[in-house]
Symmetry: C2
Subunit: 105 residues, 2 copies
DNA sequence: GACAAGGTACGACTACTGACGTACCTTCCA
DNA sequence: TGGAAGGTACGTCAGTAGTCGTACCTTGTC
């Protein structure tokens, strides 16, 4: 079957509440921080080292995607993820950068 | 009785997680936005117009205080609140500003 | 074909959140 | 001496978040 398109919110549908809620979780914040370190890089979801089970990871991917923080690409049996940096910077300038740098103490 | 001191986290105890969690709520974000508009002003808690009950408001004050977003001063039968702007800016530069301006669409 | 790897779906469980009402406390003011 | 106003404490309740295990699907590889 063709790689099904995963549902992503449009740029104008991004909301601060869900984004902050998504970023409030340490595991997800770690993912975003790693993605933000190389904003143009598309990363394999499996390459993130989270201390949770496989099904919990799926849950976190979904939260990040539905909040509009990442764009996911289904490549058959693999999932790739990329930070929606442009969209986020346009709608919420400085937010991602502030959160990521806040986490570096 | 002397105005009891309310428990506030120290500057170095501020954590990103609880702060983002506190800001994920729309009511609390509104309070922070209003405080941020006049950072040096101390405001009466009762002056905020939140569409929730009295006891719910107390709950939100506590969340904001325990996250370290505001400093509260107990003046007998009244409670004053002030944004901990300096502390927040020192620990998480740009974060509050980004969140507040993000809410203005 | 068989199997491993990466993901999803579903249900379950625990813990927490936001909301509320009621009762109570403290202070100010008529 | 009373209110009335502003807050807190406590218990409750419904909804949601994070976690997990199990079963299953898809793809690549042996």
């Amino acid at each position: 079957m063709a790689p099904s398109e995963l549902p992503h919110p449009g740029v104008d549908d991004l909301e601060v509440g869900p984004i902050l809620l998504a970023l409030a979780d340490e595991n997800r914040r770690r993912v975003i921080a790693e993605l933000a370190a190389r904003p143009d890089e598309e990363r394999l979801c499996a390459s993130f080292d989270l201390p949770v089970s496989k099904s919990s990871r799926t849950h976190h991917w979904r939260v990040l995607r539905e909040a509009g923080l990442v764009r996911q690409r289904d490549a058959g049996n693999r999932l790739y993820m990329r930070l929606r940096k442009k969209d986020l910077d346009r709608r919420f300038p400085g937010l991602i950068e502030a959160v990521v740098s806040a986490d570096r103490h």
